[in-house]
């Protein structure tokens, strides 16, 4: 999952949880707050009454009577004061029902006993519960809507900001990682960002790529230079040996020695030539402007290898489509690629074996040529290294020098061709050439 999706998911979920938690807690909180507030209110009123009694005397309320009662028009609130003899002293707040003028209503009540001029009195102040609760619902609603609105607003803001924040990261990933091809030849300008972490990441990736590029260039240059420098001495040696061979006086043993030296030199020459070819491909020294018909090229390759095919009595079965045209390739290199693969298929085949060459189109994606031999096959653990230079899969030491497939790999890489290998040890191998095709 992408970081942005994760953050989006997390933010949305966490905020939803907060809203749900709030919805769950809100009635309790509101009830608690209003009850506290009512209690406080009742206490205030009690204080006022006591104050009045202190200042103006109890008769301010009693006006000659032995009790006092007053209530508001709709009986939401009332105050009752009476003398209480033998009443246990109380000072509580509780909920209970009272009958006021034939109406039974539930009140929040404050009962308080006090002494005034050696006489005991009981004060009761009440407030209907329904008045207390009447603001609960709208209050809850308003609180809920406000919260939901705020959370929604911050959510949008968070997501927009996260998107903005992570934009450089996306740019880094697409420009520095996804859309780059080894060996990172093109330089890419740094991604603009004020986030130091991203800056650091971007810088590190750029440095890493340029280091890889540098190392690769050095290796390439070395291969190219070394091969060039080796060619001249090899050339001189070869010519000197050829001249020695011409000497009529030369004894048979000496000549045989020179011949074997020439053979070894030949081996050296082939290695250096192959390395040069690989370095030239890696140096982009071939233009990719040719158009080829694979079946024509295959026929040419088979024709070129006719002797070997006939001498080993190998049967070639091919069924390539005649209508496929591959563009933007280097003909000579593709020829060499197919040549090397067919040559291997002949070389590692059984006497009188078969080579089957078929093709396949994956619409809008690739054109695949399968080259299947009935040869010795490649053991599974060696499959990964067969394209590496100088690695040779369990062959005799003097058979080839492991560069044929390296050349294939270089040519393939140069053309964005993927080569897949399937092999069963002892039964044969199938090399599949995936040409990009159809875009």
């Amino acid at each position: 999952m992408k970081l942005l999706s994760k953050i989006t998911l997390y933010t949305t979920l966490s905020k939803t949880v907060i809203v749900l938690l709030f919805i769950w807690l809100l009635p309790g909180i509101v009830k608690d707050v209003t009850s506290q507030y009512t209690n406080h209110n009742l206490q205030e009123q009690k204080k006022k009454v006591l104050d009045n009694i202190q200042k103006r005397g109890i008769d301010y309320y009693f006006e000659g009577d032995s009790s006092y009662g007053s209530y508001t028009l709709l009986k939401e609130e009332f105050i009752a004061l009476e003398s209480s003899n033998g009443h246990a002293p109380v000072d509580t707040i509780f909920t209970d029902s009272r009958i006021v003028e034939n109406d039974t209503l539930t009140y929040r009540l404050l009962d308080y006993t006090f002494e005034y001029k050696n006489k005991n009195y009981l004060l009761e102040i009440g407030k209907t519960v329904s008045t207390i609760d009447q603001y609960n619902r709208p209050l809850q609603k308003v609180a809920l809507y406000t919260l939901a609105g705020l959370i929604f607003f911050t959510l949008i803001l968070d997501l927009l900001f996260t998107r903005l924040l992570l934009r450089p990261l996306n740019l880094i990933i697409t420009s520095k990682i996804l859309n780059r091809k080894f060996p990172f030849k093109e330089t890419i300008s740094p991604v603009k960002t004020s986030t130091t972490d991203f800056k650091y990441l971007d810088q590190s990736l750029t440095n890493l790529a340029s280091k890889i590029k540098e190392t690769f260039e050095k290796e390439r240059e070395f291969t190219s230079n070394a091969s060039h420098e080796l060619m001249t001495p090899i050339s001189i040696l070869q010519n000197k040996m050829e001249n020695v061979m011409m000497d009529q006086e030369l004894s048979e043993t000496s000549r045989e020695k020179v011949v074997s030296m020439l053979t070894i030199l030949n081996r050296l020459k082939k290695i250096v030539r192959s390395l040069l070819l690989i370095s030239r491909i890696e140096n982009d020294q071939y233009v990719k402007t040719d158009q080829i018909k694979p079946y024509v090229l295959l026929e040419e390759v088979v024709n070129e290898l006719k002797d070997r095919i006939e001498l080993r009595k190998i049967r070639i079965v091919q069924s390539l489509s005649h209508s496929i045209v591959l563009t933007r390739v280097n003909r000579d290199l593709i020829f060499q690629l197919i040549y090397n693969l067919i040559n291997n298929a002949i070389r590692y085949n059984q006497e009188e074996g078969e080579i089957e060459i078929t093709d396949q189109i994956i619409q809008g994606k690739s054109y695949i040529i399968h080259i299947k031999d009935a040869g010795i096959g490649i053991p599974a653990h060696e499959l990964e290294t067969i394209f590496d230079r100088f690695k040779k899969a369990g062959r005799k030491a003097d058979e080839g020098y492991g560069l044929g497939l390296s050349i294939v790999k270089s040519i393939a890489q140069y053309h964005d061709i993927r080569i897949a290998v399937q092999s069963q040890y002892g039964k044969g191998s199938t090399f599949s050439i995936h040409f990009p095709y159809g875009n």
Partner: protein, 224 residues
């Protein structure tokens, strides 16, 4: 035949000279581009073997000038650079052939002879080979006017041995000539044996092929 060898690597030039002299050519040497220009203006040549990697001048420039001064000479470009572009440019500028280093002196001689044959017409392209006649231009081997069917590679082998008659050639030299860049070492030297066997079989049906000899520990030669 006069040959000018333009090659900055002295020991290389000397080997070429040694070989070509034995093959009957008259050789001059030039180790720099300037030297080459000097010698070319002195007297004409039949062949100019030109290394492109000269220390003082661009080989291709030397070739351009030389073509003006010695238009009748045949040019073979020798280079260790081996770039495709050099090859194309060289041939565009009128070089007759191109040999990437390292090359076999035998190959050099055979290329020179091929150019001579091409330039001189048919006359010296036909030669006796035992009781047979080999026509290098038409690529045919005849016995009493009847053509012997040889495959392309079989003819290549036979004609190469013929060009270097009386000299033993190694299997590597033969496979290098026949397969060039695509030659595949030991793997191909076995094929050389098979090819020679086939050539012998095909020709023995007409007459003796004793002239096609196996040289123990070396390879093959045509002795006539």
């Amino acid at each position: 035949m006069n040959v000018l060898i333009v090659e900055d690597e002295k020991s290389m030039a000397l080997e070429m000279e040694f070989f070509l002299k034995k093959a009957g050519y008259l050789c001059d040497l030039a180790f720099t581009g300037k030297q080459a220009r000097q010698i070319m203006s002195d007297h004409p040549f039949d062949f100019i073997l030109l290394d492109l990697g000269l220390p003082d001048l661009d080989g291709l420039e030397v070739l351009k000038d030389a073509k003006k001064n010695c238009p009748e000479a045949s040019y073979i470009i020798l280079t260790a650079r081996g770039d495709l572009e050099d090859r194309i440019k060289g041939l565009d500028l009128g070089a007759d052939d191109y040999l990437p280093k390292p090359f076999s002196l035998l190959e050099l001689q055979s290329r020179m002879q091929a150019i001579s044959r091409r330039k001189s017409g048919l006359n010296d392209s036909v030669a006796p080979l035992g009781d047979f006649i080999i026509d290098l231009n038409k690529r045919m081997v005849l016995f009493n006017g009847e053509e012997i069917e040889l495959s392309r590679r079989e003819f290549d082998l036979l004609s190469y041995l013929m060009l270097h008659k009386n000299r033993p050639l190694t299997r590597a030299q033969l496979s290098d000539h026949v397969w060039g860049d695509f030659s595949d070492d030991d793997y191909d030297s076995n094929f050389i044996d098979v090819h020679i066997k086939n050539i012998r079989k095909k020709m023995m049906a007409f007459a003796s092929v004793d002239w096609l000899q196996t040289v123990r520990g070396t390879g093959y030669k045509i002795k006539i």
